[in-house]
Amino acid sequence: MILSRREKFVCYAVTYLFALFLLAPIVWMLSTSFKGQLAIFQKPPSLFTEFTFQNYAAVLSDPQFLHAFWNSVLISSGTVVVSVALAVPAAYGLSHLTGGRRAGFLSWVLLVRAAPGMIYVLPYYLAYSQIGLIDTRIGLILINSVFTIPLAIWIVIPFFDAIPHEIEEAAIIDGATRFQTMTRIAIPLAAPGIASTAILIFIFAWNEFLFALTLTRFEARTAAVSILSYMAYEGTEWGKVAAAGALILLPVLCFSILIRKYLVQTTAGGVKG
């Protein structure tokens, strides 16, 4: 499609406006995180009047925040491990099913994912109270996985579908069992897709808020929830909220950059032998 100058200008203008709309809160957060309490409420606001690390120092020396941050790391990693370990074999199996059974199963899987999280909160709360999973990392890992496994299955299946059947048949003639065909041939070939999926799961679990808020008290509280403790009755400590937010954003940012690398690899690499 060839665009005239004016059309191009309009396209860029819309794109940049939208980007500004998306990025403005992040910019505000970053700038706030480096300001002192007074500068935050300065009118008119300015981006960088004052530059201080005091908010970061305060947050990083807050044992409660550090504990929550560590919880987030463990819970997110645990969710990745559980979801990938279960979703990858499931996706492999489904990729080898055909016709109605596959489509049927996949839509059920999607339904689980599409239901609003609130529906799950109450039953899980009651069940978790009975079996002692309230305020545990395991509890959060399990409920996160309920949501990430369907997603992971859906993302990984096309990567398995893209592997020519003949490659797996060659492996079977070479004496591989179905399981070996999966571990030695299919998984290595789908690795970029699986890696991207793992990253998406990590980000999902990292950002998860609803369950972390309702199913934890202190022991398993995650970083995202712990920000709330800076919004107390006696007044919100905006500087700390922003600094904590920036710290929580950091891994997401790193992983987003990583995932781009993998996704590019996937389209460029191909499976053709």
């Binding site: 490659i167 048949e169 079977i172 070939l189």
Partner: protein, 332 residues
């Protein structure tokens, strides 16, 4: 070494019968070529022999052992696919040794076998490359190497050369025949290219719609086609068919004459027609003639000049060159 025999083998996909009932014996050490038009069930049959497809009925024996219910890797076969089907994430060496490593063979044995296969196929310089860094011909050699190290009694090839260009195809054809002589194994080779079939086979099996039309040596199939289908399928350019009086006078409902057995004559002749097109092959000329009754025929004649375009000609052929068919069967 192993012979392969199929007894009343059937294959049904859902409601679609691909192979109605087929019996075939592939002699030990032979180079047997399955040939037929696209969709006639050649790949399906080969995959049934490999064990990649279940049988809907009948028995398959390899080396005298009933393998109908045996897994592919236990059948003593190796298969080379049209798409090569190499493992893209492994080096050439790992591709070739994959089966041996799965079977946990000693490292020395693996090394020796890979070395021997690489030597036979001239792959030594490429052992550490990935398949993506190889040419089509080299990839096909790796696929063959992967087959060789299995020491199979039977090699199965499914159109292994069809992705290669013409020159390379000719060269690989010769290499495969050398390999056959060197290893002495039974080879079953699927192709829809009748030139490949003629030049490589010591036994040709012509298939049509899941049935065997004829099986025999290439020259036998060429000289004595048992059905109009075989006559029309084997030989290039295609054989000429005639119906009507000329067929009835020979006791059939159809006769066929190969283009090289038709002659353009000065006087007399059985047919008359107008030259529609001259195809120059260099040594020979293919003369396309429209007969007076409207039929189109092709004659392979010694070189003729283009000035004959649109000329009226008479055409003849010796009696012994007629193939006579009645109700789809050869009549002698």
């Amino acid at each position: 070494m192993a012979e392969v025999s199929l007894a009343d083998t059937r294959k049904v996909f859902g409601t679609h019968t691909v192979i109605p009932e087929l019996s075939l014996s592939v002699p030990d050490g032979s180079f047997t070529v399955l040939v037929g038009p696209s969709g006639c069930g050649k790949s399906t049959l080969l995959r049934m022999i490999a064990g990649l497809e279940t049988t809907s009925g009948g028995r398959i024996e390899i080396g005298g052992r009933d393998v109908t219910a045996v897994t592919p890797s236990q059948r003593g076969i190796a298969m080379v696919f049209q798409s090569y089907a190499l493992y893209p994430h492994m080096s050439v060496r790992d591709n070739i040794s994959f089966g041996l490593r799965l079977a946990r063979r000693p490292a020395a044995e693996i090394d020796g076998k890979v070395r021997r296969a690489a030597e036979i196929l001239q792959l030594e310089p490429y052992l550490d490359r990935k398949p993506a860094a190889l040419s089509g011909g080299q990839r096909q050699r790796v696929a063959i190497g992967r087959a060789i190290v299995r020491d199979p009694g039977v090699f199965l090839f499914d159109e292994p050369l069809s992705n290669l260009d013409a020159a390379l195809r000719g060269q690989m054809r010769i290499e495969l025949l050398d390999l056959h002589r060197r290893l002495g194994s039974t080879m079953i080779y699927v192709t829809h290219d009748q030139v490949e079939a003629m030049t490589m086979a010591d036994k040709i099996v012509v298939m049509n719609a899941g049935r065997i039309e004829q099986a025999g040596s290439p020259l036998d199939v060429f000289d004595r086609p048992q059905s109009p289908f075989v006559a029309g399928f084997i030989g290039s350019p295609r054989i000429n068919f005639f119906k009507g009086g000329i067929a009835e006078s020979r006791g059939g409902d159809m006769v066929a004459v190969r283009p090289e057995h038709l002659r353009i004559v000065e006087t007399g002749g059985r047919w008359r027609g107008r030259i529609r097109l001259l195809e120059q092959l260099g040594t020979d000329t293919l003369v396309h003639v429209t007969l007076t009754d409207g039929d189109e025929i092709v004659i392979r004649a010694p070189r003729m000049g283009p000035e004959l375009q649109d000329a009226q000609v008479a055409i003849d052929c010796d009696d012994r060159h007629f193939h006579v068919f009645c109700d789809g069967q050869r009549v002698d």
